[in-house]
Symmetry: C4
Amino acid sequence: MRSLKDLKERVWKCNLALYEQGLVKETFGNVSGLDRESGIFAIKPSGIQYKELQPEDIVLVDLDNNVIEGILNPSSDTKTHIVLYKAFPKINGVAHTHSTFATAWAQAKLPIPCLGTTHADFIQGDIPCTNDLTKVQINSDYEIETGNKIIERLNSVSYSDVKMILVAGHAPFTWGLDPEEALKNTIILEEIAKLAYLTIKINPLVNSLSDDLLNKHYLRKHGDKAYYGQRKKIKFGEDNV
Amino acid sequence: MRSLKDLKERVWKCNLALYEQGLVKETFGNVSGLDRESGIFAIKPSGIQYKELQPEDIVLVDLDNNVIEGILNPSSDTKTHIVLYKAFPKINGVAHTHSTFATAWAQAKLPIPCLGTTHADFIQGDIPCTNDLTKVQINSDYEIETGNKIIERLNSVSYSDVKMILVAGHAPFTWGLDPEEALKNTIILEEIAKLAYLTIKINPLVNSLSDDLLNKHYLRKHGDKAYYGQRKKIKFGEDNV
Amino acid sequence: MRSLKDLKERVWKCNLALYEQGLVKETFGNVSGLDRESGIFAIKPSGIQYKELQPEDIVLVDLDNNVIEGILNPSSDTKTHIVLYKAFPKINGVAHTHSTFATAWAQAKLPIPCLGTTHADFIQGDIPCTNDLTKVQINSDYEIETGNKIIERLNSVSYSDVKMILVAGHAPFTWGLDPEEALKNTIILEEIAKLAYLTIKINPLVNSLSDDLLNKHYLRKHGDKAYYGQRKKIKFGEDNV
Amino acid sequence: MRSLKDLKERVWKCNLALYEQGLVKETFGNVSGLDRESGIFAIKPSGIQYKELQPEDIVLVDLDNNVIEGILNPSSDTKTHIVLYKAFPKINGVAHTHSTFATAWAQAKLPIPCLGTTHADFIQGDIPCTNDLTKVQINSDYEIETGNKIIERLNSVSYSDVKMILVAGHAPFTWGLDPEEALKNTIILEEIAKLAYLTIKINPLVNSLSDDLLNKHYLRKHGDKAYYGQRKKIKFGEDNV
């Protein structure tokens, strides 16, 4: 078991990676990482510039939204992270950015169709987009309702199969088994979103990938018969810094 | 109170930041910062390459457009800055670039619709675009008329609520409480402009953000009930280098 | 004759170049290089991050798909490389990426028309795109069938004349006399794909390049009467790091 | 008067700048600089990678296309440069790239309309595009005919007023009083081309800039009444490294 200090360090690195990869600007976005055993997660503080962010600035919060450690206010999206941690018991990482292409699809209020194997490698179908929040939802606890909207949109789809979503008019959220996987899914999502954009601009009439190809590529990397990577030799997820 | 030497240093850094962020090329663009008490502002010299710019090159000018200090000619947009400083008594920073996406919207002569919360976080509605200058205005004092066009376009909207504008056929101007905030608004504006471009390309029929969501996001960051960032702990604006 | 150790080193450098040039993200893509004499080729391991890749991680495989040297699993596309090496006896390098614009054309399932001399310098006509794999092909040996699809699409066109192809719904493959040339063709392909995209967006009705101009540019660089470069003085291909 | 060794050094730096600014890839493109007095110009060698280019690799050629100094073949576009040097007696620099957006407009075979003041600052009207070369022209001395096509397209427009042009189906050429100005015009042209592309995508119906605004911006920087920059204090062109 890793200590909370290590967790803060890892979450700090993941947040920096968002910035270094060009997925966030200014103070937008946040990655968090949860230690399930203690029920405490580490998250970026609100409104702090990435280039000034230090490990000690990372805030520790519990799943009842109490700040456990840290002198700064946690991210204003904290309650959305909490909703997801409670609803998805197997995840320990959540990432949120306003990365350019994923956010454009979210603002367009459209799911990202699966147009290629780059997408199929990660999601076995469209990347979903929520409906709009209602006026009531916006004016109640907005961040909690954003989280609820995500859960509602997934519906019967497992959060273990689809780890990326667009919040309509807002931006993407991703999650994973740890903050590193949430980060990786954010990177991949932006790439998929960019490819999908260009593809529909070149050929607006192109069909989504056939189910056969979709399944082939998804199951190369997921499930019992997966053969991509070093699954027999190296534990998945550790490859990410 | 900071000295004018400090002001020149800060304005120099803000100008360099425009270049480092890819918002300007060659000698385009300029940031200025005003010391209200003395009525003297610091501005980039005209036609000097950013990569050669030194703090001592920054020119000091008063609000009657007299050069107070500096051997170089001030930016050719200086009089536009002056018009804004006189019309907006609470601002102490102005920035002007030909950043790619904001300039494309200005050349398209269209306001940027509010299509997402990234935009709503900063402006509670469209980012306005001026009308064209008339032939008379172009041939009189062009830089002064450009400033007047900006004020005319804002009309009854407060310059404290809308700190970004597109000058039709030309490019964006932003302002703020200090040069650092003007710089930040330029960075944000470019991001918003890019997202809006991609969004309308994906879904030309998408509606602007609902008023409820617009207000929710704007008021998270502005006004009495703001809860974004470290407002209780760290003074807004100091986060920017 | 270069040793296999040298070959691993060269292939490692080519793979790093893919990453440094922004043509791949995360663990996508791979370059391989073949030593025809021994029938052994070097290829990137599966699912390893580029920024962690070391020369000793490069796997040696023979043309019957036996791992000859290396503790890691070779790329999951290895069998596709083998199909191409067997079908194209003069090539000793293969590269595969999901580079943005080339992949968008592949996802659009369209060949890249020859719209300019940048393209004509390298390919004397369209850059072809395969048909979709059939359900049977997907569910048999998928990577082998991908290779077969490439060969089928080239048809009567010589693999020495057309060294780039798009696999429909998937991504580009390129090849060359050595891994360095395969790498170079990947870089060029992405550039051509980007230019073609922008061109059809500016002018959807533009015609492909005339045969005269197509031939002029292609034959400046290829064949007996080539006069581009230092062909008389420096061996082609050594210019690439 | 600067020596030819200095000229080679300056031309080398300008060529490197093309690469560092992302305006060329691999071995594409070239900048040359002429010493009018001796009738000798320095130009990049053909097919050499920019990252390997050294000052001593720069080739000296005279206006009759004889290599005066250098062991490498000069650029394959050398004769086009010669045609321009002979036809435009006041220029001493020529630059040619396949920069992304300018080349897209050239492949689209359309002039770049003047849609904003960024453009008007440099060219008082459209950036012209040549017609296609005829079959006869392509099959005669192609590089010479390319140069002739440029001259033909300018027609009655002065080469001192319009220093940028697109060669249809090919790419841009620029020139200037020295290689540094040719380089600067290449940078500016790419920027203008990019802005124009985005502008017509946002608003396909937007009109070109009015003559009044066009003239105002152009004459701010050119002619007797120019007031942009440090014209009274610093010689124009020396600002470029």
